[in-house]
Symmetry: C2
Subunit: 300 residues, 2 copies
């Protein structure tokens, strides 16, 4: 079998569901209507109807599609276990790189990785082609893909790029009207930071999530597909680095919370100069953390 018939199987099951809402003797809708409703082509609808007919659940004759018997659970087709989505793949890939410290210059073995991640090889190809655009991987001369990033140099460039985008976000944020939802969100974030601060000694692991939420919120005012795409990669990488770098986690996070709070307060008081200074301060210490986490990894 070249292409999987997964689309057919899930469409067939959906059609069973549609029949289950009907009574025996009723007529099914037109092929086109079913196709539109189920978001598949008429070809699949017809294939499913054919199977329903041969299963004696429906009597199909031209435009008469009479439901003979309301289908039961046993009639459902086993649908293939869903392959990881593109986002899950991204997740797995970065986790793999950071967890095992895959070094710069490693040739990525698509066949092996696709088995490891449980995705078809071509789907991994497609994924790598996307990372290629960010300079994270590059096509090898002989063949295959070569891992480019995750060196100190990479971290510096990533941090700098983040700084450019985030400073821009701060400037745009401060220009938002008073009734913009961002101000409420900032106040809420402020409270969440204060709350975490009081219980930090025991819950300092929770900061990673809050950090991501904080940066995502600030960047959310920038409605720009390029910035959004870039941010996705940036936050992903920062997030994973924080997850794996456990040195001085408590102190680091305590300091970061203070920096965040200072930054939030500066923005809430609409002070541009102070906001920019606070942002710069935090972004620079983030950069240091990312860099030192890389150094730490290298030595292990």
């Amino acid at each position: 079998m070249a292409r999987t018939d997964d689309r057919f199987r899930s469409a067939y099951n959906t059609l069973l569901d549609i029949c289950a809402d009907m009574n025996a003797g009723e007529q099914l809708p037109a092929e086109n209507a079913l196709a539109t409703q189920m978001e598949v082509s008429r070809t699949i609808v017809r294939a499913a109807l054919q199977k329903l007919d041969s299963e004696k659940l429906v009597q199909w004759d031209g435009r008469r599609k009479t439901l003979i018997k309301v289908p039961e659970a046993k009639h459902r087709l086993a649908t293939a276990q869903s392959v990881p989505s593109n986002e899950e793949l991204e997740h797995q890939f970065l986790e793999w790189i950071l967890r095992f410290d895959v070094p710069e210059g490693t040739t990525l073995n698509v066949a092996q990785l696709s088995r490891q991640f449980g995705v078809p090889a071509y789907s991994l190809q497609e994924f790598l082609a996307g990372l290629n655009r960010f300079g994270l991987v590059e096509r090898g001369k002989k063949s295959g893909w070569i891992l480019r990033g995750f060196t100190a140099e990479f971290a510096v460039e990533l941090s700098d790029f983040r700084q450019v985008l985030e400073m821009n976000a701060v400037r745009q944020l401060l220009e938002q009207p008073a009734d913009h939802e961002i101000w409420q969100q900032l106040k809420l974030l402020r409270k969440e930071h204060e709350d975490l601060k009081t219980v930090l000694a025991s819950r300092y692991h929770d900061f990673s999530v809050l950090d991501e939420k904080f940066h995502t919120t600030i960047n959310s005012v920038v409605k720009n597909r390029f910035v959004i795409e870039a941010q996705k990669i940036i936050s992903l990488i920062f997030h994973y680095h924080y997850l794996w770098d456990k040195t001085d986690e408590l102190e680091r996070n305590a300091a970061a919370i203070e920096e965040h709070l200072g930054w939030i307060d500066a923005m809430l008081s609409l002070d541009v100069a102070r906001s920019e200074a606070a942002a710069l301060k935090h972004l620079r210490s983030s950069k240091e953390t990312l860099l030192s986490s890389l150094k730490g990894h290298k030595l292990v």
Copy 2:
């Protein structure tokens, strides 16, 4: 045939060239040495040697590879016509979109496009997967790829993104030491602008190239792989739009040259505020041009 033997063919020809530099009776280097030199695997080297042996050009016996006859042109294998590189594909794709005003939401037909561009379908897939990261295309629900960009909204977002990156470049540029090559380059660019200005009436088409060179130069001080990748796409799209939008080209280019000159002078005099103002002015009028060119296309 699953995979083409193009690699073998060109390697065989290279090996003929190597033999041509030798005399009959001499020994060829070791397989590994040849493989390294020719940048292919030993498998190919051995296959080529086998063919040389059966062609009675080389007598191959274990590690003795004696050249019997210096090969001539007639021995060369016909190598497949080279498929367009990834960059040529990018070029062709954008040209196609802009020339024919392919509208937003068009489902891209990979099979047809691959024929049109003369590239294997899977290679086009890979290319589209890359564009996906920039939000230029997106995977269709049923199948295929859907063109997302090239609307007014897209142009605004692209211009804004460009502005963020280029304003950052200006700030970094002004911090460069006096002996940095950028200052000489700027002076040269200034002269080129002045030169074009005097003959603009007849040569105004040349501005497009100069414009790209100007922006590339300014951005060259930012050593950041993310910025560089982003700039690639940005300059590509601006460049192609200018190429196809012919309305008021002379006036537009004359104005742009003045803006460039003002910007260059501001930077050469190390005046940060004036540089930023000049940059903003030009970037904003570029944005207007891009927007109006889109509107123009839509109406035709």
